[in-house]
């Protein structure tokens, strides 16, 4: 569900002070990990004598799994001035939380991938907005299918049925309109004005705590 991209070279160079121990997480590798670029970069760092060890594993977001992996390389980690993690943001936080006294840095930036069943990227997306609008839109999500996440209909930016932000992306509200037309449910567009509630995350947070 998360994809990673290597930070640019200057940014990574700026992070490294002294020697580092490198962790690569290939857990979501079936989706995306810049393996070849990371490998080339790490080989170069190693040739400069900046690397005490490289651990390539998977699912470091699982604290138990991360722990057994890090402990298997403890001496190399202790020897290094910092730990450089090539994973999504969850992985970096898990390692940083475990090695609390160590400088832990991220070598990657993380992007979201549509869908969250497994790590299979889906053609559908759900932002988990907490107040499903699909019943009003014929099952096409206005939050993710519209680049402005509009909930009251098409904006004036659509051209040839495409979005103003990306001429290759279908206008979400154009799709919704067509779907409702096909279902004979254009009456749904006459519903009262919709307001997006941005406080639904707090509801979940409070419920779980």
């Amino acid at each position: 569900m998360l994809i990673t991209q290597l930070k640019n070279r200057e940014a990574i160079d700026a992070l490294i002070s002294g020697t580092c121990f490198i962790v690569n997480c290939h857990g979501c590798g079936e989706v995306s990990f810049p393996a070849a670029e990371a490998q080339a970069l790490q080989a170069e760092l190693a040739s400069q004598g900046k690397v005490t060890g490289i651990l390539t594993t998977d699912y470091i977001c699982s604290p138990e799994n991360m722990k057994v992996n890090l402990e298997s390389r403890r001496s190399e980690i202790d020897e290094a001035d910092m730990v450089l993690v090539f994973s999504c943001g969850v992985g970096v936080q898990t390692v940083a939380g475990y090695l609390e006294d160590k400088k832990v840095c991220a070598g990657c930036d993380t992007y979201r991938l549509p869908g969250f069943q497994g790590v299979t990227p889906l053609e559908y997306d759900c932002e988990q907005c907490g107040e499903c609008f699909l019943n009003l839109t014929g099952g096409i999500c206005p939050i993710t299918a519209c680049s402005k996440s509009l909930v009251n209909g098409q904006c004036g930016g659509a051209k040839n049925g495409k979005c103003e932000v990306d001429p290759e992306m279908d206008c979400g509200w154009e799709r919704i309109y067509r779907r409702l037309e096909q279902l004979g449910r254009l009456d749904l567009l006459k519903r009262p004005v919709q307001l997006h509630n941005y406080a639904t995350d707090d509801e979940v947070y409070k419920q779980n705590n």
């Binding site: 040839n160 103003e164 309109y177 567009l189 004005v193 919709q194």
Partner: protein
């Protein structure tokens, strides 16, 4: 002066727009408006048009009002959440600005600061509805406003020549439901398409101002056809612009075309809204040719 009053009186409402500058000096805008636009019913002030950062629409409205013009405050949902939008509406009312045109706004990515967070907390429909709520003496969280509530002439836009005209009509209907009292349209070149749109829009019983953008060149027309949503310049019009380059360059062809469009559509609309884009000086000539 609320433009809705003018419509009610049966006036043919002619408005034009001015774009605030990227800087804090408003004298130029005021002078230009006084020179070319003072004969009009009202003047729209754009809100960081095309997502390009500029001085505020509200401040510009205020100085135009002070200079004796009747401003229409354009307000987009791109840069403000519902707190800021309501607050700015109250500010406008405090300044006596009583015309608001509600827009969703272009996406931030289209402008000169694509890094900015696109807000879109509300959209044009919910913004109209929010104004209606303010007018009832409450904010949208249900809290009571102190003193007399503000009142506005609530305007909205529509794209009659959009390639998704039915989706636009459905949105227009939602805007009416949410409180829109008048409409200004995206630029119209295809009068036949426009007239058939107006036949359908008649049911909403709201005054509509025909949108006019002066054509400066054939290149501009082709560019708009390719890139600007809701705009379709017919090929014969482009040929007309190409035919006499000197005349086109001098602005005469563009003004002639616009005047023709206005004359053809006038029976179907309650006003005209002119987006001159720097050719404000041509507006008097246009008015004359169009017989306004």
């Amino acid at each position: 002066m609320k433009v809705t009053e003018l419509f009610r009186k049966g006036e043919f409402v002619v408005t034009a727009e001015v774009g605030p500058p990227k800087g804090c000096h408003l004298e130029g805008v005021v002078e230009e408006a006084k020179e070319y636009l003072s004969g009009l019913s009202a003047v729209n002030v754009t809100d960081c048009q095309s997502s390009v950062m500029r001085v505020g629409s509200l401040a510009t409205c205020k100085v135009l009002k002070d200079a004796g013009l009747n401003p229409i405050y354009q307000l987009t949902c791109r840069d403000r959440n519902r707190i800021a939008l309501q607050s700015d509406l109250l500010s406008a009312a405090a300044f006596g600005i009583d015309n608001v045109l509600c827009l969703t706004g272009d996406h931030t990515k289209l402008g000169d600061t694509p890094q900015a967070k696109p807000v879109f907390d509300l959209d044009s429909v919910s913004l109209l509805s929010t104004i209606k709520t303010l007018e009832s003496g409450y904010d949208i969280a249900g809290n009571e406003l102190v003193g007399d509530p503000p009142t506005f002439a609530k305007g909205a836009v529509v794209s009659p020549c959009s390639d998704s005209v039915d989706a636009q009509l459905s949105k227009m209907e939602r805007k009416v439901m949410a409180g829109a009292e008048f409409f200004q349209t995206q630029a119209v070149y295809d009068t036949e398409r426009f007239i058939s749109f107006m036949e359908k829009a008649k049911q909403f019983d709201r005054p509509v101002q025909l949108g006019i953008v002066l054509l400066k060149s054939a290149g501009m027309a082709s560019y708009m056809n390719k890139s600007v949503a809701g705009i379709h310049v017919p090929p014969d019009m482009i040929a007309e612009l190409k035919a006499d380059k000197e005349k086109t360059k001098a602005g005469i062809t563009g003004v002639e075309i616009a005047a023709r469009i206005i004359r053809e559509c006038k029976p179907y609309v309650q006003g005209v809204h002119i987006m001159a884009m720097g050719w404000e000086s041509k507006i008097p000539m246009l008015m004359e040719l169009a017989g306004l």
